[in-house]
Symmetry: C2
DNA sequence: TAGAGTATGTGGTCTGACCACACCAGATGA
DNA sequence: TCATCTGGTGTGGTCAGACCACATACTCTA
């Protein structure tokens, strides 16, 4: 693997954990050695171990917890969406990725997802999506809760494809622009009307998928996403 | 933003940089303050600053360099593909993301990309893709160089869509499975024949895009990807 | 004027210390 | 006997301070 170039110490730590995963000595749910033990066994300082662990944590690979007992320490969780969401959010902040491109990518991912979801007809996954819509019907929730449920609904549809990579990408696309969505809400002339429209579109979309009508679902989700961003984007990018 | 829950110090550092980016006080190409100065201005230790910087670096947001002068220190580079590639690679190592899902996601992204590329007809971008194929025609390069150029070609096609998010996703999808591709090469009965076939398919694909024939390009890229993985995946997942 | 030598500031690494926390086992009480 | 309190112990989180290798920019010398 051409280790000619200088490898920093924390990269060695990341590489070590990656190798342990690849070899199957670490798997999802495993508890890693403590930072001090890892430092000693690799012959590096605890600071360097911590830098590596920070990277793994930011990638959604592990989770850390203080204290003692079986839940403490670094545990492999492997939540792929975490790292991708952070990456997208940060690059969005740096203006190196335009919001428009994210929206277009959503269109491409989601039209495929609902077609695939309609084809697979994974009833359990669709039931989850439906219960999220039920929760979003609660008139007492505020705008932020509504849009979080909205995001969860779209992610649930992505999960109905059975493709974990697509689901992770969808989670990160929707999660990264949550801040932009919330920034747009106060700018909307009539948010309650918008929410009613979104609820209606969600129901129709889910019905089309459950009917196995992938084409109709694709058209509905495209209109749904385009409609929302045409109403909100001008307010934020202004 | 409800900072009720405990925020660790390195997260404060990440958040600080994110805010600076969002406010425009930092942009791509900017040089960040030194670690010591940042630690003092935020009232935290240098170790914590470094942990935050490690995260930003892993996300592809910044690049660090030792020494002195204008190129040293932490500089904002905003290479979105870096973070996503690492995230995918690590989750692939943990078996939480199956290779098959990545391949299926490539199909979805790339069929869209070549359709969009054919529609946009970005001559400059397509010329870059073509020159990568020229380089890959060199009979002296080895398997690794060939597959790296192969990956670059597919990424170049994604760039021809003009969508930076799609291009970053494509880069990470292809980059994350590079190790798997290289692991499969020695298992192939006749790699030179495979390479000849891939070269031919690449040329036909690029020609279809340049002809503006998105449908044909989509069919070609689908057959191209499916063909390669049907030949290699069994060797690796075994 | 050209070159060698030096000063300076950068990230990279290490050591060792202390803290807050969460669990767990043994002591204590009813 | 059982419930409750109370330390002990090990975890990550944070900090201070030191030294190193390195790359540039400056200064001095031949």
């Amino acid at each position: 693997m051409s280790a000619d170039i200088r490898q920093r110490t924390h990269e060695l730590v990341v590489r070590h954990v990656e190798d342990e995963l690849r070899a199957g000595r670490l798997r999802v749910g495993s508890r890693m050695d403590g930072e001090r033990a890892l430092a000693e066994s690799l012959g590096v300082s605890r600071s360097s171990v911590r830098e590596g662990i920070r990277v793994l944590e930011a990638m959604g690979l592990i989770r850390t917890a203080v204290g003692s007992g079986p839940d403490s320490g670094a545990v492999v969780v492997a939540d792929a969406a975490v790292g991708m969401t952070s990456a997208l959010r940060l690059h969005l902040a740096s203006s190196s990725l335009p919001v428009e491109d994210i929206v277009q990518t959503r269109l491409l991912i989601e039209t495929w997802s609902v077609r695939e979801g309609a084809r697979r007809a994974d009833q359990a996954a669709l039931r989850i999506a439906g219960s999220l819509l039920d929760a979003a019907d609660d008139p007492d929730i505020d705008a932020e809760q509504f849009h979080l449920l909205d995001a969860e609904f779209h992610v649930a549809l992505a999960h109905a494809t059975g493709n974990d990579v697509v689901a992770a990408i969808m989670t990160s696309l929707r999660g990264a622009i949550h801040g932009y969505v919330m920034a747009a809400v106060p700018e909307l002339p009539d948010w309650p009307a918008m929410a009613r429209k979104l609820r209606r579109q969600h129901r129709n979309l889910l019905a089309a998928i459950q009917d196995g009508d992938g084409e109709r679902a694709a058209q509905l989700v495209e209109a749904h996403i385009n409609g929302f961003y045409r109403a909100t984007l001008p307010a934020v990018t202004r």
